[in-house]
């Protein structure tokens, strides 16, 4: 019988990390490569070093914590997630997956178990993409999907580059980012939605991801004065943006329950109280379980933009700067997770991931899978984000059982 996860210790470690970058409402704010992110990484590293894990860090700031196996020539079984958060982050998104991995290794240590294959616990840099675009930056660079120099040159809203932020936070490692020698990649994550709670599932087996399409829009009208300029002579870029935001929302509502469309970021120029705005920029995205449907959502969006631009006499430039997915995760690993959950009398549900995750970048390189634990009320990216101690321990137990089967406990060659 495999050893049992210590739920209290795992919970405490999550609570300890949450106290770094605390927010008044009980959440956490640790944007990538800020002092708060660096402090969480330092505490995590201290815990790993106490277990004798070997630490390597690459030039984009990804952290790899290696536990030697009996058979050193065997590729490692890898798992982890990310410690960075969004500005209004909760305590569990990303953190639960990293510390579940730590919990697996601590439990193996307690039980005196050395696996045949090595294990590797990972903290990916800048999964959230809140400070530096794009999201999943660390895993994207490691996977070769984003050149290191391009990533290092990206800047935050204050003009600070990733390279500068890595240097300032002491997080630039010496390793060249590259795919690692792994036999499997597993990631535990909170669901970030209400489905598991609503259906009473203990463990979500993530079979794939949504397809997402990202757009940066620039709406250009005409500057004028809010007082004398008659309403019908205006070319107000903010009013045009308002129509775009509602069109995006409508496209998302039409695509329920498998689609989403969101306008999340806005910049308005001159944003002065006496002036009709003349340049408004928006970031938006459309997502769907089906790539064809996501493409159709984009077509709807583009029709709406043309109509708004024509009616209002404004120009709308569309930069469709990125897409991702759909990714299909490894079916054998999915079956393994399903079986391990059943072995612990836990109910499962097959899920589609609606958000981006580092596992999306790993899937083309190595057999990969994700498992979800429930999010209470489906609330996430929010200080109210919550999963119970038991929910997280159950997911971590399934992770441990799967890792042990993959890594093996037999004697080396």
């Amino acid at each position: 019988m495999n050893p049992t996860i210590n739920a209290d210790r795992l919970w405490q470690s999550i609570m300890d990390i949450a106290e770094i970058g605390p927010t008044p409402e009980g959440g956490s704010r640790r944007l990538a490569l800020t002092a708060e992110d660096a402090a969480a990484r330092t505490l995590f590293l201290r815990w790993c070093q106490a277990l004798g894990l070997h630490h390597q860090q690459d030039a984009i700031g990804n952290m790899f914590l290696h536990r030697t196996g009996i058979d050193m020539a065997t590729p490692a079984v890898a798992f982890g997630s990310h410690l960075d958060t969004v500005p209004t982050g909760g305590r569990f998104d990303g953190v639960a997956g990293v510390l579940a991995g730590l919990g697996v290794i601590r439990t193996l240590d307690d039980a005196g178990i050395r696996t045949r294959a090595p294990l590797e616990l990972v903290n990916w840099m800048n999964e959230e993409g809140s400070r530096f675009r794009p999201a999943m930056m660390g895993s994207r660079v490691a996977a070769g999907e984003l050149p290191l120099d391009v990533a290092l040159a990206m800047t935050d809203d204050d003009g600070v580059s990733v390279a500068q932020a890595l240097a300032d936070s002491g997080q630039a490692g010496s390793l060249t980012p590259a795919p690692r020698d792994w036999s499997a990649w597993l990631e535990l994550h909170i669901e970030q939605g209400p489905v598991m709670e609503a259906t009473g599932a203990d463990i979500g087996i993530v079979v794939g991801t949504m397809h997402a399409r990202y757009f940066q829009l620039a709406i250009t009208g005409e500057p004028s004065h809010v007082g004398p300029t008659e309403m019908n002579r205006r070319h107000d870029s903010l009013a045009a943006a308002a129509e775009v935001i509602l069109a995006v929302e409508r496209i998302g509502l039409t695509a329920e329950p498998f689609g989403r469309a969101s306008a999340s970021w806005i910049e308005n120029i001159p944003n002065a109280r006496g002036n009709v705005p003349h340049i408004t920029r928006l970031h938006c995205d459309v997502r769907h379980n089906s790539a064809d449907e996501a493409v159709a959502m984009e077509a709807s969006l583009r029709r709406a933009l043309s109509d708004i631009a024509r009616r209002r006499g404004v120009r709308i430039d569309v930069d469709p700067y990125a897409t991702f997915g759909p990714i299909v995760f490894d079916t054998k690993l999915g079956a393994l997770l399903r079986g391990k959950a059943a072995g612990r009398q836990l109910s499962t549900r097959d899920m589609i991931a609606a958000a981006g995750h580092d596992s999306v970048l790993m899937a083309p390189l190595v057999p990969s899978a994700m498992l979800f634990v429930p999010s209470v009320a489906g609330i996430t990216h929010n200080p109210k984000e919550y999963s119970t101690k038991e929910q997280i321990a159950r997911g971590t137990q399934v992770l441990l059982d799967a890792v042990l089967e993959l890594a093996g406990t037999g004697a080396g060659p």
Copy 2:
């Protein structure tokens, strides 16, 4: 016969000031108390000192340039406007009025005319309100409508206070802001609308202002993640703000041609690409020739806000932080300007000012009037803002003729 304005010299002085804070499109950007504003003030002061005008400056940065009269005991005839601009400013808004005043004095000097009453030329601080709220700050403080200490404590978006900006730009004068000893206040300004051009009027006689009501709105929704959060579970503050912006616009369109309603400023939190926005702030205003209609527009806006808040499950806080007008300008001064225009064979049209002006603050204190010169195509607060050399010279001639009649040229007692 009164002397004739030197149109070329007046035009050249406007072009010279426009080169301070030039923008690529040919406009000017001189936000109040920036280095650019200070440079324009310094050049203007140099010109005034070359004419022997006596310079006084008050603690909020208003500049008073005094030309002695034959009868020193008589209150001065005052005129002027402002040199600051909006971020996307043109070459004429405010500047035309200050330099028309300078043109009047230069022309009197050329002709060797000393008036019986003194003359006072004024550059008001921060008329535009783009950097520091509220607009017409200098005249508002001088009129006793805004306490000096409150104004000095106001901050721009970077947290710089008015007091700090006055100190940094060297524009804090020693005079206590207070009403001046004036018999009349006159302001020449560009129309900032298309009516004069459309109707062929040379001179606009501004008989009063619109009534304006200003609101700061805060919309509070719920933070969540754009990927997993289903559309119908969101409380998206930016989508709610989009409905508000369009409701404001609709209220303005319904009130045409005498009303305006504008949403000009927005702040979105967290404004991060992975997050459903949960706090969005808006600035908006409603204006109308009729105060009753403006109040009715506010009532429409509040009904729309209640409806949006209820349907979307968001909170909308309304801060109705200021109103102004309607102001009725002095009818005798209006008649004087009308007569002086007729004496020069210029056509006139009675106008309502839709924007705020420093004259609004002067009107309760001293007989006040404004005259407009046409704006080509009605475009303003825009680099394309334009009035011709002849249009400005005609308005300045009417200003000179009115000033001479008010100040008199007879011998002193």
